[in-house]
């Protein structure tokens, strides 16, 4: 019986393909990438055809989250600097921005804050390609958005359970659905053919010790989620700290005191990051004017 609910819920969630917001460009680009003879120019050309999308991607990659503020002026340049996997993650996140902002208040802020914190942690730990870690942080709660859209009644019940029983969102998901957004994340990553490091970070950010291939990615997002919750920037659906797994810091080879400079950097960059959104009234040419 329980298994039935899970199967039907999974089917419903994966019909995300029906959602109009994921741009066709993404499929086209994914196909191009599979051909080893495809050039970066060709990929950039496909993305650049969608001007609104291109403007969003450039706004995102020029935010302090990625550490190249104000210097990336073309899609081609962004592909060279950040790589296709990061740009793909950015396209997915900017594409779901509208439904994310509507489905769960504060989740966009929580996600972009987590991206910022995760990138700072990756840099602190001296990891290669910190942008790949940032994008894992950006996508870590995508499962919550998709559940909200595909299973609106159950999503509402999860929210009510959070409030009435003072649970964290993940605990309430398990109580109501029998599984959490971490599972949904894995299904989605599989379904969208996301690279394995992003997939594992999305699926294991609550239990980084379960990550088998990319423990560093899972651990960095785990700590990033903890940091953004300490600052209460945005909301992942509840107002509690998440239990920090001491093993995650060990995996990253950083101490609790090393987190201090991550907190410093987070506080410093936060207001700038808070200007990164894609509200319709905020035209693609304007530079991050946040309301109020």
């Amino acid at each position: 019986m329980e298994e039935d609910l899970k199967t039907s819920a999974k089917g419903k969630i994966l019909s995300i393909r029906d959602l109009p917001t994921l741009p066709r460009v993404l499929d086209e680009v994914s196909r191009l990438v599979q051909n080893p003879n495809t050039t970066i120019e060709a990929i950039a050309k496909v993305i650049s055809r969608d001007q609104v999308l291109s403007a969003k991607v450039l706004k995102m990659v020029n935010s302090p989250v990625y550490g190249f503020p104000g210097r990336i002026s073309s899609i081609q340049h962004s592909l060279v600097l950040l790589g296709f996997n990061v740009i793909r993650g950015v396209i997915i996140s900017t594409s779901v921005f509208d439904i994310m902002a509507k489905a769960m208040e504060g989740l966009w802020e929580h996600s972009i804050g987590c991206a910022l914190a995760t990138g700072l942690i990756a840099r602190k730990a001296g990891l290669k390609d910190p942008e790949e870690y940032s994008v894992c942080g950006l996508l870590h709660d995508l499962g919550k958005v998709v559940a909200a859209v595909q299973l609106p009644d159950l999503h509402k019940a999860v929210g009510e359970t959070v409030r009435s029983q003072d649970l964290r969102w993940l605990e309430a998901e398990k109580a109501v659905l029998g599984f959490g957004h971490d599972r949904i994340n894995s299904w989605l990553a599989e379904h969208w053919h996301l690279p394995p490091n992003i997939k594992e970070a999305m699926g294991s950010h609550h239990f980084p010790e379960r990550a088998q291939l990319y423990p560093l990615h899972a651990a960095a997002v785990h700590v990033g989620d903890f940091v953004v919750r300490v600052f209460e920037y945005g909301s992942g659906g509840d107002d509690q700290a998440v239990p920090l797994n001491p093993q995650a810091l060990k995996t990253l080879n950083i101490s609790l005191s090393d987190l201090d400079s991550v907190l410093d950097g987070f506080a410093e960059d936060l207001s700038e990051v808070s200007g990164v959104n894609f509200m319709p009234e905020d035209g693609p040419a304007s530079s991050g004017a946040a309301a109020g």
Binding site: R229, F231, D239, D260, A267, S271, A289
Partner: protein, 110 residues
């Protein structure tokens, strides 16, 4: 102190750091209060980020408020010895930050 984009600057905010050109030449000194005219002038010079005193833009960054919120955020983690330690570390971090901010503010007044 907070780094903000110039688009969020308001008259009355006070600079926490001097504004310099890319070549290092100082344009406006630290401690100067922003005016509408000054913001326009900075905009004209292509300055897009400034450091201001305090946390005018986001409460998430106010360290004394962060220290006060820790008990609420960690309310269900009191039985976890490691999390008790983490919380104590954060409290110390935010308390020191808040004291440093207060010292800067006092200096500005004096």
């Amino acid at each position: 102190m907070q780094k903000i984009p110039l688009t969020l600057a308001q008259p009355g905010m006070k600079l926490a750091k001097a504004i310099t050109k890319a070549n290092g030449m100082a344009i406006v000194g630290s401690g100067v209060e922003l005016t509408e005219a000054l913001i326009d002038r900075l905009d004209g010079m292509g300055i897009d980020k400034i450091f201001v005193v305090g946390d005018a833009v986001s409460a998430s960054q106010n360290p004394s408020e962060r220290a006060l919120r820790l008990d609420h955020l960690f309310r269900r983690l009191g039985d976890d010895a490691y999390m008790v330690k983490v919380k104590a570390h954060l409290r110390e971090y935010f308390t020191i930050k808040a004291a440093a901010d207060a010292a800067v503010a006092a200096q500005d007044k004096g």
